[in-house]
Symmetry: C2
Subunit: 230 residues, 2 copies
């Protein structure tokens, strides 16, 4: 499981030396996107010509019928690298079904260290990192959307508190922030972590009442979070 | 927010070059454990004599009354590094309350990339990485313990599925695995990720019925996970 940088030109801040070394020793890759994987392998100066590497595109939504085919190089005794378009494969990204098949067959799976925007956002949020939950995307349509936001706020109060983390399609960032401000209690702390590791990185946690003054968020990948006050 | 290696002697596989560079430029550190922080700063060859650095121990459970005192170096205009004993500060580790105070005061918080055992375990588990939850420690006493395990299994079935992740004090690892096998459905997939990034690293996901044959787990830091079958 090979993480890749989230933002362009951040190799030096995203990956430990050993990740590059291990990746350079592999010749077979299962990748979310062949073009971005080739660019990454070139950037890390893979010693083999890129055209001689086996790069199999698994796409964004892995077709269950093809899992066996994807696992085949492993069954033939190859070490195989799994690479997503950005960040950690298998985390809010494809790869998990292939790993599940490998686990079922007792094949050893090794995770390498790299950038995970969810964890980076949480680290810098000041929200609870002892208990947290990543929920993916929220529903877009009402009444499911407001119902979900209220349920997340309620869930964040359970036990000693549980941070609720989620994402949105970038062009809808401003709309989501407005809905969070609208449906959460004024004292609920809301995290907006924009462009993690990128040049426009901004990680702010403020109360819902304070976010009210913010007009617009950039249309960049953003991690949202919330934790109700108690 | 400065991550450190989880296992000894793994600097090269745990941290990107830039993390070392940024850390070497800082002179003030808030740390979970002064001894381990000093050893880390020495290992990365911090250019200043360790004795000349300001290293303030915040302990494992940050005293709320001392937060203002800890934030003081920031208010005086210093850049401050936060370092936990292992892995990412603020994630299942202290640091979050100090960050919360910094966020309240509009002080910029920058997360650096490093090893997070929860995420590494999840990446290699084959369990759902689109929706997941980290629950910390489970209750030790009955009936709360079996009730919690059953609730986690039920929660893992909600929506499209939600991986439940949790930890245990290492000497109780075997007991927790036995309880998981006892209280979960035979087809529920259980992750046991032992000694992440360490020399005894083992990350296995099997059905509860398959784990039944395992007698003992090593007394090493372990991330557990479960996802019910549907």
């Amino acid at each position: 499981m090979i993480p890749v940088p989230i933002a362009d030109g951040t190799l030096n801040q995203a990956l430990p030396q050993q990740v590059l070394e291990v990746t350079r020793e592999l010749s077979v890759f299962l990748v979310e996107n062949a073009k971005s994987a080739r660019a990454f392998l070139k950037e890390i100066k893979h010693p083999k010509p890129i055209a001689e590497l086996t790069i199999i595109e698994i796409g964004h939504h892995t077709d269950p019928a093809k899992i066996i085919q994807y696992v085949n190089p492993l069954l033939q005794g190859n070490d195989v690298g799994i690479i997503s378009e950005a960040g950690c494969p298998g985390i809010a990204d494809p790869g998990a079904q292939i790993v599940a098949e490998a686990q079922d067959r007792g094949i050893s799976v090794v995770p390498l260290v790299g950038p995970c925007s969810i964890i980076l956002a949480l680290m810098a949020s000041g929200l609870d990192g002892q208990h947290f939950r990543f929920c993916g995307y929220l529903p877009i349509k009402e009444p499911q959307r407001s119902k979900t936001i209220r349920a997340l706020e309620k869930q964040s109060m359970q036990g000693a508190g549980e941070t609720q983390l989620f994402i949105e399609t970038p062009y809808r960032n401003t709309g989501l922030l407005r809905d969070l401000v609208k449906y959460c209690a004024p004292n609920t702390r809301i995290l907006v972590a924009v462009d993690i590791t990128g040049s426009a990185q901004s990680i702010r946690t403020m109360k819902a009442s304070e976010w009210k003054k913010i007009q617009d968020l950039p249309k960049l990948p953003t991690i949202f979070g919330l934790l109700a006050s108690r």
